[in-house]
Amino acid sequence: MYNLGQYLPKESAVHRLDPRIKILSIVVLSVMVLKARGLEPALLSLFLAAAAFAGGVKLRHVIDALRPLAVFLLILFSLHVFLTSGTPLLNIPPGISITREGLQLGILTTWRFAALVTGASILTLTTTPSELVSGLERLLRPFNRIGLPSHDIAVMISLALRFVPTLLDELGRLRKAQLARGAEFSKGSITGRVKASSSLVIPLALGSVRRAEELARAMEARGYERGPRTYLRELRLTPADYAAFAVVIIFLTGLKLV
């Protein structure tokens, strides 16, 4: 399964930051990355490197997050290089040319994409899923008034995350059960394989429905009702959080003024 980067249990300044600060910083960073021109990509890369270093994230972790996207990045790059019109740098017969503009645009777009993924993976590497969910819940709480149920959204996301490993286990069990009865998942024609995989998907889906019913019952038994609830850890912003956020905002917006 593809994941951006699973939480690295460490004690670092970035780990200790309030998840809200991290989420907001990523949002601002993403906007900056998408609008970056000229020298800005270099400075933003430097910022990402500094954040990674402060969070104890190694180059290896970032590469692990990018590797599954390598083919996609390559296609993205090639499309821009070959399909942008402009001053030709190199002519490859017949009639295909690499242009200066294409090369620039290709590098910029590929960098943008990689930078976004890197930023997101630094976030998930330094923040536990539960912190992320409670950060998101707290950020969405002001929207309760216009009918966005932040508490329910938080419960939904954390349940989904909680059940990913359980469902993967179940998928593994089903696969073995079907293999034991002679199913073939890696051989045969495409249609054969699709048919074989339906023998996994259908029981998995039915099992999930049953599981969801039982879960709903257990949650009810533990007094769950929609709407406001309290939390074991209520997030609290420290002076360090404010300081970090100020630095991030000043740096990122300062780029625009340079």
């Binding site: 539960s130 954390s158 286990d169 039982e214 879960l215 257990a218 769950y224 609830r229 939390y231 074991l232």
Partner: protein, 291 residues
């Protein structure tokens, strides 16, 4: 006290009721075991105690509150905790401590109080060092204990356990049963569904269910004395009792009102001790002839 009076229940669309004329009073501090063949309505019955099901007719009252009072459902669910059969489908947290906190969070308690309850509940089940672990990394027995801690954190007066030791290895079963017995010793009212007759020797009272009715109720001794009847329902008797019954059938004079291995040991040791002098006497009589 949980009181059930003339209660009937039918699942939507069923022609036959699942529970028929149930009358039962569970006293505070009691350890009540419920046994009966699969599909006899045990689980449906205990799910009436916390208003997950409402009776079709008759009443269920928890500390005097009828479970049909929809305004007080939250109060009833706090009073009556429930540990379901499959722990995988009742753990909602991404970590052990978050799961244990789920109930108190629903009650709207202060973060500090929630934290205190999480620590206490994990301690009570012996999982203090597991607080930060994600649930899918736990063993079956540990998951069961997490589910129990999650219920304890709501500080209920009654806890109903639905087959708490199914699919567990012997040492995990023992851990779970020890926690249940400890809770009862400290004053918790325990309702315990099981198929394992060896587990019920510790109960104050046993309710035997069959085909939606309460078939019989009594102390473990009373219930286990009627071996034939239990056999007819497809239920066994504790292993120790079975051993002594078989000895008695072969003509040995042994007590059969015994439920635990320990008691059976005492009985057999007493019998053997009585037997040994006879045998040694016989030996002494035989020896001179050999010489």
């Amino acid at each position: 006290m949980i009181e059930v009076e003339n209660m009937y229940f039918r699942y939507d669309g069923d022609s036959k009721p699942t529970l028929i004329d149930i009358n039962l009073a569970i006293e505070d501090g009691e350890y009540l075991a419920i046994i009966g063949p699969n599909g006899c309505g045990k689980t449906t019955l205990i799910q009436h105690f916390n208003a997950l099901h409402l009776p079709e007719s008759g009443t269920v009252r928890v500390d005097g509150i009828p479970t049909s009072d929809s305004r007080r459902v939250r109060e009833i669910r706090r009073l009556v905790g429930m540990v379901f059969q499959n722990p995988d489908n009742q753990i909602v947290g991404m970590t052990v401590e978050e799961d244990v906190a789920f109930g108190p969070e629903n009650l709207g308690l202060e973060p500090r109080e929630i934290g205190k309850r999480v620590v206490e509940s994990l301690e009570a089940v012996g999982l203090s060092s597991f607080a930060k672990r994600p649930p899918h990394t736990l063993s079956g027995g540990e998951k069961r204990l997490v589910a129990m801690a999650g219920v304890l954190a709501m500080k209920p007066r009654y806890i109903a356990f639905d087959e708490p030791t199914s699919y567990l290895d012997p040492s995990s079963s023992r851990r779970v049963l020890d926690v249940i017995r400890n809770l009862n010793r400290e004053g918790m009212t325990v309702i315990h569904i099981t198929h394992d007759m060896d587990e019920i020797a510790a109960a104050d009272r046993i309710v035997v269910m069959n085909e939606g009715r309460i078939h019989q109720a009594g102390t473990p001794h009373e219930i286990c004395s009627d071996v034939e009847r239990l056999g007819m329902l497809g239920l066994g008797i504790p292993k120790a009792t079975e051993l002594l019954w078989k000895l008695k059938k072969r003509g040995e004079i042994v007590r059969t009102d015994i439920l635990t291995i320990e008691e059976a040991c005492d009985e057999l040791v007493a019998r053997l001790r009585k037997g040994i002098p006879d045998r040694s006497l016989r030996k002494q009589q035989e020896e001179p002839r050999d010489v």
